[in-house]
């Protein structure tokens, strides 16, 4: 037991020290993890053999990441992406494989080995690229979107590759392994489908995929609702984990990629009301596991092999990256991806990826590649992953500024991109706000804690999500970082104030528009940093008051003017009242001065209303006033 604690301490400590440092230096978290791994692995020798075991475990982070990626992708979007997926992604895999295999052939490798190498290096690193896109806010760019389609296609392509590679086995390696075969037979992976005939296998596959889809579509909603109604957060976390791990297990059992299975489940659940809650629950696990995965990559670097054949490894890395970037740039040109996006697309995907490791160990097991070559190639994969964060830095520091310069020179680019709006609370207040915004094509993310409320909204075809907006993780998955506004309409007045403080502090760029219950609450919100506050009853009460005046035969236009005057005076004196309120002590805020001011406010309004507008031009109320009778005498002499 002790040894596990010590190992955990080493890994965690390395991450805690290296990652913030790397981020501070602008290198990104991925490079931080990798460097931490190198330090505790080959340099300090603190960790050893267990890294491979841990790596297999940490690969589950990739599975979780694909689940989260799926959650962001509705089936409709996936369908819209089909051209880019097959065209861009398919061509990338195909052309890169062919070219790299050709180079290997020239280097006098047998064609089977050459093809295996080509396949391995055609893949890029989903983990590094998506993580970095997220961190640097590049996900929504055109380059980022296209890179994502290619990554997705690659992840799908891994499945046929795993099927194809055993066919490339080298006879001499097979023979060498023959003697060990008996022993190996006992270590066959647990599988449901190993002994099934072809048709039954196909049926099992269809049944499991269909099962995931059906369950995700119809089964998940009642399950989540049931769990959510228990109000126990950790059980919801457990349910989310159960879902992901369960699907991964099922997929492994039937011999499919767990990553692809969970991705599929994610896509199915992308329409679910519980999407953001799921995301925020899985996110921390994914982050930790991915980090662990990167550390093991760093720790797995074998300096012995590197010292022996550093020239080959360096050249191979450079050749692979240049070639991949070249192919990507060519495809980008073909598919009309331009300017900075073309650079982003080409540079971001130039590395080999974590599936490269998986395929490498798989090919060695299947006697496709000789072990020494595989060990060297493993270093090539790792090195190219090391270089990727540097390419991102190159993109952000050198390439992007140039294009931004160009863009700035263009005149009249006035239509700014509209940000999203996060609406916390979709009760009687938030829902109206949401409807107005939706009707004007503003993208909103609505969060509410009441499952029944979400159901009600769903009945009128308005989408909202289950979740507690006061929890930072949930706000995060709702996209608070990239949102321009937060509309605060939750029912708990103290939590509203707390949330305002938190968002103001953590995301100073997000404007907070808050609903207040009364004057005191509005001041609390203002003090906490809300940019705009409206008391929930003020405007409707004013409207009702105006209707009362109209019923009493005031002229409707005059009523409108009185209302405007009332509003104006109210707004003007509000500042004074707020200052007074600030001075008052906790709990005694409605002190004497404040009360006096409030009385003043009321009499000021009365005064303004009493002034007949034709008579005097008082400060508070002026409108269209006829000049005095006989004023033309001045002009006619």
């Amino acid at each position: 037991m002790t040894i596990y604690f010590i190992q955990a301490v080493i890994y965690l400590l390395a991450a805690v020290i290296a990652v913030p440092l790397a981020k501070k230096l602008g290198l990104g978290s991925v490079l931080g993890y990798l460097l931490a791994g190198v330090v505790i692995g080959p340099i300090a020798g603190l960790v050893g053999q267990e890294t491979t075991t841990i790596q297999h475990f940490a690969e589950f982070g990739v599975v979780m990441m694909l689940f989260l990626v799926g959650l962001e992708l509705e089936p409709k979007m996936l369908w819209q992406m089909r051209n880019r997926l097959l065209g861009l992604g398919g061509l990338q895999v195909l052309i890169t494989t062919v070219l790299i295999a050709a180079i290997a052939l020239i280097m006098k490798q047998p064609w089977t080995v050459a093809l295996a190498i080509g396949l391995i290096f055609s893949l890029s690193s989903t983990a590094i690229v998506l993580q970095t896109f997220n961190e640097k806010g590049l996900t929504k760019t055109e380059g980022g979107q296209n890179a994502f389609s290619v990554l997705l296609m690659q992840d799908i392509a891994v499945i046929p590759m795993l099927a194809l590679l055993p066919l490339l086995a080298l006879p001499e390696l097979m023979q060498a392994a023959e003697s060990m075969k008996d022993a190996a037979a006992h270590h066959e992976e647990l599988s449901l489908v190993a002994d099934l005939p072809g048709w039954a296998y196909a049926l099992t596959l269809i049944a499991s995929i269909g099962g995931v889809i059906l369950l995700g579509h119809w089964g998940s909603q009642p399950l989540f609702r049931y769990v959510a109604s228990s109000g126990l957060r950790e059980i919801f976390v457990a349910t989310a984990l159960l879902l992901v791990v369960g699907i991964a297990a099922l997929m492994s059992l039937v011999g499919l990629s767990p990553a692809l299975g969970t991705f599929l489940a994610g896509v199915v659940l992308a329409n679910s009301d519980f999407r953001h809650e799921l995301e925020s629950n899985i996110e921390p696990f994914k982050g930790l596991l991915l980090g662990l995965f990167f550390i093991t990559v760093g720790a797995g670097v074998d300096f012995g092999i590197f010292a022996d054949s550093w020239l080959f490894i360096l050249t191979a890395t450079l050749v692979v990256m240049l070639l991949k970037a070249g192919v990507l740039a060519g495809l980008a040109m073909m598919f009309g991806i331009r300017d900075s996006n073309r650079w982003l697309f080409s540079l971001s995907l130039a590395q080999a990826g974590e599936f490269g490791f998986v395929l490498l160990s798989f090919t060695v097991q299947q006697h496709v590649l000789p072990t020494p070559l595989a060990a060297q190639l493993q270093l090539v994969v790792a090195l190219s992953m090391f270089l990727t964060p540097l390419l991102f830095i190159l993109y952000q520091q050198v390439i992007l500024p140039r294009y931004q310069q160009q863009a700035n020179d263009q005149p009249y680019d006035t239509i700014e991109e509209q940000g999203n709006v996060v609406i916390a609370g979709s009760g009687r207040f938030g829902q109206i706000v949401n409807r107005l915004l939706l009707a004007n094509d503003v993208e909103t993310v609505v969060l509410d804690l009441e499952v029944s409320q979400i159901e009600n909204m769903r009945r009128v075809n308005i989408k909202s999500y289950f979740g507690d907006a006061t929890r930072p993780e949930l706000l995060h998955t709702a996209g608070i970082e990239s949102a321009s506004l937060l509309v605060l309409a939750i029912d708990n007045r103290d939590e509203a104030v707390e949330l305002t403080k938190y968002v103001r502090h953590s995301f100073p760029k997000v404007k907070i528009l808050a609903r207040a219950f009364d004057r005191g609450h509005s001041y609390e919100l203002r003090e906490a940093g809300a940019s705009y506050i409206v008391a929930e009853t003020f405007h409707s009460a004013l409207e009702l008051g105006a209707e009362a005046m109209r019923q009493l035969d005031f002229h409707p236009f005059e009523v409108e003017q009185k209302k405007a005057a009332f509003n104006r005076i109210e707004a003007e004196s509000n500042d004074h009242l707020y200052q007074q309120w600030l001075k008052g002590s906790e709990g005694e805020r409605f002190d004497h001065d404040y009360r006096k001011l409030f009385i003043q406010l009321q009499s000021g309004i009365q005064q303004a209303m009493k002034n007949d507008r034709a008579d005097g031009h008082t400060k508070h109320e002026r409108g269209w006033t006829p000049p005095p009778k006989g004023y033309t005498d001045d002009f006619e002499h």
């Binding site: 400060k619 269209w624 000049p627």
Partner: protein
């Protein structure tokens, strides 16, 4: 000669669809000697702040109304602005001398061609004639009225590639008006200001 401080009052109720006026307004907004006010943005419910508007008038030497020509007049907020801001005792009447000696200009876009705004065209009157209520208002409050700066056929200006030339001209006119590079008498009688660019000793920018 002293430089003129310019107040640009812009009235356009449908800026999403604006093709000419919005770029004109944006161009003017970038000039540091111009206070550019989007009236519909500042008073979306037409509750014009009279004090603020009067103070603005006092702070500037040249007032420009910029608008698309609607029913031979200004969009309604500019009329509301006149009704409220040009008060008795401030702009006219007893002691109403606050605006005397300042200048007024209308910068507008008209859908019809220049030919339509003639006695023999389908609009029967020139654009200057149609703007006479504003011209007389200027007279009444003691302001010098410049002939309007107009773009005709504005609905097809973008398609016909006339926008950028118009914007350059607009920019040059604003500079000239700011620098007072002209004699008022040379311009006063023109139908549109665009006919008098040579009198404005315009230096082109860009």
């Amino acid at each position: 000669m002293n430089k003129s401080k310019i107040l640009l009052l812009f009235a356009h109720p449908s800026q999403r669809r604006s093709e000419v006026n919005r770029p004109m307004f944006d161009t003017a907004s970038k000039m540091d000697f111009i206070t550019a006010v989007d009236l519909y943005a500042e008073y979306p419910s037409l509750n014009i702040d009279i004090n603020r508007e009067q103070q603005r008038l006092l702070d500037h030497d040249l007032i420009i109304f910029q608008f698309p020509f609607y029913w031979y007049s200004t969009p309604s907020i500019l009329k509301e602005w006149q009704d409220l801001v040009l008060e008795y005792g401030f702009a006219y009447g007893h002691d109403g001398t606050a605006l005397q000696g300042k200048r007024m200009l209308c910068a507008l876009t008209a859908g019809g061609s220049e030919k339509a705004y003639r006695a023999d065209g389908y609009n029967h009157f020139t654009i200057r004639e149609l703007l006479q209520p504003l011209e007389q208002t200027a007279n009444m409050i003691g302001m010098d009225y410049l002939p309007p700066f107009a773009l005709f056929g504005s609905r097809t200006a973008v398609e016909e590639g006339r926008l950028s030339a118009h914007l350059e001209c607009w920019q040059a006119v604003l500079h000239a008006l700011h620098n007072n590079d002209y004699r008022f008498e040379d311009l006063a009688a023109l139908n549109v200001l665009n006919d008098g660019l040579s009198h404005l000793s315009i230096t082109t920018h860009g």
